[in-house]
């Protein structure tokens, strides 16, 4: 591939507490603020607690999920007395870190999340052709050996991307699990901190002119579809738990015929799709309200070009 040169990343934002009960990010942002970390080499660093009201009550959100409020449509919707808190807050964050899609936006948004799923360290973004993000992923994957590191692609046009990371010119989420909501585990915190440190390290190297060679990155997973909990048609109650052979086995293979759910009555519900896919976000607490047991993904490898900062 042809080498690519891109503008320097002069403004970087680290966001925690987008979901108020995902504690690693909350404590990491507070720690960065306590240390008064305002620069990463030549880049300025902004740290934000994205949803302070939700953090205060240690809940995912107060009115609605903040991390679904960053579509173009919601960001430009008129505010009335009925507007949910998180929509107003999303518009405030768009002013602070954006405007989304415009020249004034920060160069890089890194949004910190936890999951109850056994996903290790996952970087999540909406494009596999943002070479800044792909090179950051490659560095994080090479340098971090204490946990598996993977990339998840939620392929959407920018206007429809609903997550906070879409505010910046480049953006991604760092998702670390498993951790119960409302809890801070030292091993999970330390893993997230390592990922943030590697990200800022990469940014500094990039800005100071390092050349990053091209190549292939693997363990890239593209969202295909969601799998829902089985429910009793009369009572609407969930009638099964995720099968022990899928529980805690995010990113492993699910073949047609493999068990998916273990009914409370003892029967097994099997995967009846035709394609071998990879479950992820297996048994994420926040997805029960959408009745989602897990997502399924296709695995792929991405070729990335050599990258260097654009010299004026």
């Amino acid at each position: 591939m042809e080498p690519v040169s891109l503008p320097a990343l002069s403004r970087v934002a680290i966001c925690g507490g987008t979901h108020g009960n995902e504690m690693s990010g909350v404590y990491l942002v507070r720690e960065l603020q306590r240390q008064k970390l305002e620069k990463a080499g030549s880049a300025t660093l902004t740290t934000v607690i994205s949803n302070p009201r939700a953090v205060q009550v240690c809940k995912r959100y107060t009115d609605m999920d903040l991390n679904r409020c960053f579509t173009d449509a919601i960001l430009s919707s008129p505010v009335t007395v009925a507007t949910p808190y998180e929509v107003r807050r999303a518009q405030e964050l768009n002013t602070l870190l954006g405007p989304k899609g415009k020249l004034g936006a920060v160069d890089l948004v890194c949004d910190l999340h936890n999951t109850t799923a056994n996903m290790g360290l996952s970087l999540i973004s909406y494009s596999v052709q943002d070479w800044v993000i792909m090179h950051i992923y490659r560095q994080v994957q090479r340098k971090i050996t204490s946990a598996p590191v993977r990339f998840i692609l939620l392929d959407l046009p920018l206007a429809d991307v609903y997550s906070q990371d879409s505010l910046g010119k480049h953006g991604f989420s760092i998702e670390v699990g498993p951790q119960p909501h409302g809890v801070v585990r030292a091993d999970i915190f330390n893993l997230m901190k390592e990922a943030v440190d590697q990200t800022l390290d990469w940014v500094q190297c990039f800005n100071s002119g390092s050349a990053f060679e091209g190549g292939e990155v693997d363990d890239v997973y593209t969202f295909v579809k969601s799998v829902y909990y089985p429910r009793d048609p009369e009572t609407n109650q969930i009638t099964a738990a995720i099968h022990p052979q899928v529980q805690d086995r995010d990113f492993c293979l699910l073949h047609p015929g493999d068990p998916m759910f273990l009914m409370f009555s003892g029967e097994i519900v099997k995967y009846e799709g035709e394609e071998v896919l990879h479950p992820f976000f297996v048994n994420e607490c926040a997805y029960y309200e959408k009745s989602i047991a897990f997502h399924l993904a296709r695995k792929m490898t991405v070729t990335i070009p050599p990258l260097q900062v654009k010299r004026d």
């Binding site: 720690e31 119960p180 099968h243 022990p244 273990l262 409370f264």
Partner: protein, 311 residues
Amino acid sequence: SGWNRIINNVARRVAIFGGTHGNEMSGVTLVNLWIQNGKEIHRKGVETKPFITNPRAVEKCTRYVDTDLNRAFTTENLSAPSGDDLPYEVQRAQQINEIFGPKGSPEAYDVIFDLHNTTSNMGCTLILESSKDHFNLQMMHYIKKAIAPDSCPVLLTEHPLLKYSTSRSVAKHPIGLEVGPQPQGVLRSNIFESMRVVLKHALDFIELFNEGLEFPPCTVDVFRVSEKMDYPRDTNGNIIAMVHPNLQDCDWEPLNPGDPMFQTFDGTTLRYEGAGTVYPTFINEAAYYEKQQAFVTTRRETLAAGAIKKT
């Protein structure tokens, strides 16, 4: 010698409480299952009543609505004049006391099992409120033997300051089942099935007892609660350190003076400075951050249970 038989009445009325905390999903799921079809919990000669104690919290999938139901069964609350202005859980405690109590009276239910989950790595823990409850001690002895080689630690909460007024305490023989680790709001198959198996053995014990089987004297190893340990905090009350990686998930394992206990956010280790070895539990329970508890220390003890037999 323990062979002075402790004569017990038949255990005729048994309740199984789920949803005392609305986001502890194993108990909510099991009780809802058994409300629909109680075949699995049916035992000869005993009424087994599954019951959701905090339905509003269950509906919102939250621990509680106004106040923790599992701390609400104080004498003060139970004897307060009833009224809509009382916190929801206090009203609920009064209702539960009427149905399953009154606490301390001969009319109270014989046995109540209260089903809980914890984010701590406590396995299948049984919670005992009194060291002199020979019926409960014998049941716990039976359960431990039945699930061996898997273990079933027994936590004794008898303590002048640390004991709290639980929903199950309205019964003559209250038993807590605390199974973890499981995040709040999540249902894990393995945790669900473990709780189900423990309850099966507990009900088998009750059936055997009611049939007249005599249980000879025995001993039960327990962990008696000793001291509550909070997170280190700054002057604003914010926590400044996390449970140390060496202590995390090590419930029921010895913690010796000098062992790592907490790790600050910038990586410094803080060590345990007690006088002797303790056995921590409830390590990093999500619900206890607001109760100023990172873990609780316990000490090992062996309790003697006298022989029991139905009259």
